[in-house]
Amino acid sequence: MPDAAPEHVLVTTAWVAEHLSDPRVRIVESDEDRALYAMGHVPGAVEIDWHVDLQDSLQRDYIDRAGFERLCAAKGISNDTTVVFYGDKNNWWACYAFWVFKLYGHQDCRIMDGGRKRWELDGRPWSTDRVTPAAGRYAAQEQDGSIRALRDEVLKHQRAGKQLLDVRSPEEYRGERMHMPEYPNEGAVRGGHIPGALNVPWPMNCNEDGTFKPVKQLEKLYIRELKMKRRSPTIAYCRIGERSSLTWFVLKYLLGFGNVRNYDGSWLEWGNCVRVPIAKGAAPGGAEGTASASPAVHA
């Protein structure tokens, strides 16, 4: 079972507006474009940036436990704080930050459904004030391996034929798109997908206004059409683990998948690894066929 019912983990912009000065709540913005926060943020919200705040600059990994404790304290977050994440791009970076907070065991994390887009559509105010919260007191737990998949675990999972979800675009899945001419290659030396992975592009989880689709529609997609099982161990991945953290959130918190992990190494690692199998084409196993869920993508 998920930690909480969807109506608890997902909050509306109205809920956030009512809790702006609630000392038990900290609103956190996480964006693809950092300048958005400087342009205007939810009043009282602090910013946590995944590139700058959550990544270790030396090891390709997240900040360590002590670093996470320092970050939380600086952002005015204590162990018992309700942390509400929101951001641009259908909340994908917000989901990423949510996932890192869960990695270190933060209890009460929520997502503001629809993120910046919904806040704007609802006509709510933006603030450019500098937010300097009183320091929090934080003691993090060790990383929770039950929500993070590392490469060798993914390989074992793949060999066992267990549920794998590739949430990238169909072009990336088929191995047709890696990076563009003249653009720096921050991708991989091989294009394709992990053999056996189903392709459900992440925007299929979201409505035009950035909110998540109703649970019934999501159930229809993942469970009825794709025949995925809530009780089977599942791993989601994308290119660097950000888009798949959104799908991870959907599976775990909106659909109640019991064992779902995000493979944050994702294609940027897998597509560069020596002696790991990849598949090309539209079918999970790599042969010709149509395994992609219909890509009605509106990113």
Partner: protein
């Protein structure tokens, strides 16, 4: 008015003195200053394939040369103020200057502005790619006799 390089150096110096938050605010100021596309370019945007496909948010850019002078024309979606501000900075440096001068813009500008640390490695790479694209676009135009 100085060369494209001189103009950019002045902007770099302005950024270098600011703290992280102020740098982002100045970048937003530049973004707000990027002029809207004229009707001519609005029409061309539809007719020509000017979309920068590397960017996930819609970005359209033209590198033009009028009588030997460079002109960057761009439209960037409002949800991407970092790219928009960066494009405005490049335009402010090179527009109206001899097209060759664009090639002297320093590739380490983001580091010297202190923006590389504020934006992180991945975003900085994206901006460097945009700069390379603009430089290349102007270089190609420069070799074509007017």
């Amino acid at each position: 008015m100085g060369s494209a390089r001189d103009r950019l150096e002045a902007i770099i110096a302005e950024f270098a003195d600011l703290d992280g938050r102020e740098k982002l605010e100045l970048l937003v100021d530049f973004a707000n200053g990027l002029p809207a596309l004229s009707a001519e370019y609005q029409a061309r945007k539809v007719a020509e394939d000017r979309r920068v496909h590397e960017c996930q948010t819609p970005v359209f850019v033209w590198t033009e040369v009028d009588g030997g002078a460079a002109r960057i024309v761009a439209e960037v979606a409002p949800e991407a103020p970092t790219v928009k501000g960066f494009m405005a900075i490049l335009a402010e440096a090179v527009n109206g200057r001899p097209v060759d001068e664009a090639q002297s813009l320093p590739d380490d500008m983001l580091e010297r502005m202190g923006l590389a640390d504020v934006l992180g490695m991945m975003r900085s790479r994206g901006l460097r790619a945009i700069m390379a694209r603009v430089k290349r676009g102007l270089a190609e135009k420069a070799t074509v006799p007017a």
